[in-house]
């Protein structure tokens, strides 16, 4: 079994990047591997927007990720600063009463991704516990 951490950097629709990331996650889990977390950075934060509005024969990545989380209980974290800069806001900020951040996603600091990798670095000798970071 391999442990993975997934780093998504592109917005949905514009590129197939996030779709590939999700398919990778699903395939990895089916093959018996583990996805520790998916982290959204740069334009990747757009994956979390409940404002995504696509026809039923198109792919709504926010919905797909939310379903993925429900089925597999994988944390979906996004960089809170990257999100704020791109208009993705959680509703707990009083100056921003409305939220377009889907409930499946958690706004966190950058370090959330790296602390997992760091823990990994300390256990490098134990190959089974090593987390592989994959950037999409």
């Amino acid at each position: 079994m391999q442990r993975f951490a997934i780093f998504v950097t592109k917005s949905p629709y514009d590129s197939r990047n996030a779709e590939s990331a999700l398919r990778f996650c699903e395939a990895a889990i089916t093959a018996g591997h583990r996805i520790e977390q998916v982290f959204f950075y740069q334009s990747g934060v757009h994956n979390s927007s409940t404002f995504l509005d696509l026809n039923t024969d198109e792919i709504n990545m926010c919905k797909r990720w939310s379903e993925f989380k429900l089925a597999n209980d994988v944390p979906l974290n996004l960089c809170v600063t990257a999100a704020a800069r791109r208009g993705i806001v959680a509703e707990d900020q009083k100056s921003k009463p409305d939220s377009n951040l889907a409930a499946a996603f958690t706004p966190v600091g950058m370090s959330e991704y790296f602390s997992a990798l760091n823990e990994n670095a300390k256990n490098e000798k134990d190959a089974a516990s090593t987390i592989k970071s994959i950037q999409f």
Partner: protein
């Protein structure tokens, strides 16, 4: 005819009153324009924060302004501590000393008083 929903507007602008002037603030309550800063701005923010400024506070405030001019970055706590340690030694360049001066967070409050933007949350 249905009453139409108002158009979305930009967030309301807040101001800091300093000596009869109204200075623009950002949405976090930090000074919007770095050039608007004067010692009176620091005093006005200090009053909001219930802080009585002494020489030690002023030393930090001047230091973070210099930091900003050198690195074009509002210092987060780690960088602030390390830079102050290099300049003033470990007595001043340590996080406990800075927390005693600015109990609500040295980087957060010192940058505010110094008229800088709020440091990025995750750094």
């Amino acid at each position: 005819m249905e009453a139409s929903k108002p158009h979305n507007t930009l967030p309301k602008q807040d101001f800091l009153k300093v000596k009869g002037r109204e200075l623009e603030l950002d949405r976090h309550g930090y000074l919007a324009n770095y050039e608007d800063w004067s010692e009176n701005v620091a005093l006005a923010f200090a009053e909001q924060e219930d802080l009585a400024l002494n020489d030690k506070h002023w030393e930090v405030i001047r230091f973070v302004r210099e930091f900003y001019e050198t690195y074009d970055t509002s210092p987060a706590i780690r960088a602030l501590v390390k830079a102050m340690k290099e300049q003033f030694g470990p007595e001043v360049g340590n996080s406990r000393y800075l927390h005693r001066l600015f109990p609500d967070g040295p980087a957060k409050i010192a940058t505010k008083l110094a008229g800088l933007p709020k440091p990025a949350k995750c750094l």
